[in-house]
Symmetry: C2
Subunit: 303 residues, 2 copies
């Protein structure tokens, strides 16, 4: 599909892309670039690519497709580094969880003869690094592309086909709308999970070890999300500030009214909310975005 694809950043998403590109034969050559000597060495040991470069500028030479797989805060400096070395007509994309900021960071530096088509695969796990990747990560998961009206239709089509070959279903969306939807479905849940695990971490030693011991009562679900990559998530919150603060505001208002209901012993208010929320779960299972098995099926085969 492509002569040469360059992956800049080789964490969970980058390494998963390397695996699936190899399995599906999507690139003749895969160039891997990362700033860290150790990570690059590890990528080579695993055999994720054909070319390994610390210098992103060298890595993108002759590439038809460049995929930036770093935390979103690195996009501006990467755009500046690679711009002078890009091949005419190359497609530049990324995998970041925030889209408007990526466009603002990259577009001004990129030359006019390449195609920026920002992207976001809605896929991941709580693990990170080049060893965390696997070929089926994107299977049946959404990938959102956020080109603007100026973006070359052919480039968008080609990138769409690429993600479909990686196993994804592709949706085209406005960048700002993406950032708002993801603030609710992803950024706020991560923020809340980090916060509650942080609150528990601040407890006195004795109580904290009890929290860990009895975590199966609900808390453990939050710790999985709160084990996600710190650098990636720091950048998400900094770069989607507005939408995150807006959704956090709504969440806090609702929490205040829930707090009031508890304080007043208003069982009806609680029951009404707790009944409503069940329907959303049903919808998610119906469209195949989660498993029906109790406790996500994690405890054992019988559950």
């Amino acid at each position: 599909m492509f002569e040469k694809v360059t992956l800049i950043g080789i964490g969970l998403i980058g390494s998963s892309l390397a695996h699936v590109m190899k399995r599906e034969g999507l690139a003749k050559l895969i160039a891997v670039s990362t700033r860290s000597v150790e990570t690059l060495k590890r990528a080579e040991e695993i055999g994720l690519g054909n070319i390994y470069e610390l210098d992103a500028g060298k890595a993108v030479k002759d590439a038809d497709l460049v995929i930036v797989c770093t935390p979103v805060g690195a996009c501006e400096s990467i755009a500046k580094t690679i711009s002078p070395h890009l091949k005419e007509g190359a497609i530049i994309t990324d995998v970041g969880s925030v889209k408007a900021s990526v466009i603002a960071q990259m577009k001004p530096s990129l030359p006019g003869n390449v195609h920026l088509v920002p992207g976001h695969p809605i896929a991941g796990t709580e693990y990170s690094g080049p060893d965390a990747g696997f070929a089926s990560l994107f299977e049946k998961r959404w990938c959102i592309l956020t080109p603007d009206e100026m973006t070359d239709k052919g480039a968008t089509e080609k990138l769409k086909l690429f993600w479909e070959k990686c196993g994804s279903e592709v949706e085209i969306m406005d960048a700002h709308h993406h950032d708002l939807v993801l603030a609710i479905t992803s950024h706020l849940p991560h923020l809340i999970a980090y916060n509650i695990v942080g609150t528990a971490d601040d407890l006195e030693t004795d109580t904290r070890s009890e929290v860990i011991k009895f975590s199966a009562s609900g808390f453990r679900d939050f710790t999985r999300i709160a084990a996600s990559d710190p650098t990636m998530w720091r950048d998400v919150f900094i770069h989607n500030k507005e939408a995150v603060l807006e959704t956090l505001g709504r969440f806090s208002e609702d929490l205040s009214s829930l707090q009031k209901a508890i304080r007043r012993g208003d069982g009806e208010h609680l029951f009404e909310l707790f009944s409503r929320t069940r329907d959303i779960r049903k919808s998610i299972i119906e469209i195949g975005q989660d498993v029906e098995a109790p406790n996500f099926g994690r405890d054992d085969g019988e559950e």
Copy 2:
């Protein structure tokens, strides 16, 4: 182990107890009692017991062990109903997520010649009702008993052995301490999950369907918890008000400081918190309270 065990309430926990008692031969007779005609009929269809009674008073006749498996708000009225019919020396226990309130509700009504040993198995799924139960629910899960200094040691020992035969590890704890620890590990996580799913449910129709569609980015984890039984959880919050409001207060303070960090673009603050929370996840996996597999292993065999 017991001649006759009476289960009052036959939802997820009650029906799971019926299954495991049968498998392990823990009772010669199992009496099932519930206020709902339909639920009782369903329990009989599944064959969960030997005796089926709408009247809890009749059901506890001659029972050596009575296990109250209803939402915690029903304990006071159940204690009043069963008190005149209890056998001398019977052990009375429950499975509620709140312990001090259960003691306050039941103790005054129970006769002096029976043994109240409150209990809480830390086990469950997001499903409820007599069809949701299964024999292995309690396996390798904690069960906390909260007797006081007056409680008969023999009765506590016998109930401990019972839970161990159900597969649980048993911990003895003070009732108020239990309520505080569970407020953090269970009640607050449920409250937060209900709240965030409620916030999403309030969105305009279009955005809401996008939230469901892209829920795999984090949100879906919360919807599982927020699909838990509404009646049970209404009662938990009403009956553990003080501890829940206390932990909610800490959570809200921490969330405000996180909000401030995002507003100010304070990446260091965010990174520090997001790094700290990873360690708690590691501890939980180390002690076997959750699986190590990415995404709880739910997506497919390969993940």
